[in-house]
Symmetry: C2
Subunit: 156 residues, 2 copies
């Protein structure tokens, strides 16, 4: 099984991508795996290639891969007469993921509405600011939905 060679630049890029994913809340190992699958010349890598290239243990790789599989961030193909799975980045999942994380962000709004609903009328100034934020987030939410629609239309 041929092993993957990375240039210094590629290694650095993987680290930088890794940091980005970690900051977004992902664990270190999955972060590196997804970064590797984006950067390496080959786009389809086996379990062993991932372990070796990233210098992580099989258990770390197994957990990382399963996490990413169930999140839909990666998938794999197989070749007939070859028991190995070839893992690859599901690049197209990014649109969905962007959308999902936008929704999470904007999901705060529901909670803020509940907060406002239960607040005493007496804290008028505070309530008014809160109402403004809620209105803004609703606005943003609607507009973001429109952007996605606009994009789909534009693609045609």
């Amino acid at each position: 099984m041929e092993n993957i060679k990375l240039t210094q630049d590629q290694k650095q890029l993987i680290e930088r991508l890794g940091v980005h994913y970690e900051r977004a809340g992902l664990q270190p190992a999955p972060s590196r795996v997804i970064a590797l699958l984006l950067v390496s010349d080959k786009t389809e890598l086996t379990f062993d290639q991932i372990c070796e290239t990233l210098k992580i243990s099989k258990s770390a790789a197994s957990n990382a891969i399963n996490l990413l599989l169930s999140a839909g961030t990666i998938d794999y193909i197989t070749l007939s007469g070859d028991r190995k799975r070839y893992f690859r980045s599901r690049v197209t999942s990014w649109k969905e993921e962007t959308r999902k994380s936008l929704n999470t962000m904007l999901g705060l709004n529901t909670l803020l509405q509940e907060v406002l609903d239960q607040r005493p009328k007496s804290s008028k100034e505070f309530n008014d600011s809160l109402q403004e934020v809620i209105t803004f987030m609703e606005f943003l939410h609607r507009e973001v939905d429109n952007i996605f629609i606009k994009w789909e239309a534009r693609k045609k």
Copy 2:
């Protein structure tokens, strides 16, 4: 110093908000503090009131408060002839924060462009998908900027 009473509903709402913030990457104690400042009837609470109401130690409160202060999530006022600081949620910071986290999200784009630039031409299909994602994210970024402009205009 009068102590803060919370209804069962308020306590639950604080926990739910707390979980939201934790999922967004904030530590538990700061998450509860900000939630408390949103939910409690009084919008301006002292250090001691925060400690007592949330049942956290002074050190936990001190660290949480300083974190939130330096993130701009809360601020405080003082009353003349009263050494205490009265902490409150900077509700208006949410627009900025929303924007910041959008930018972080969309900042992935710069990295993806770098990835694409260093990829071999041979992985054409992959590169094409990547290019599509980049184009989409650029589109999204521009549109989001427009939304903010539109909002500011609309407020007048």
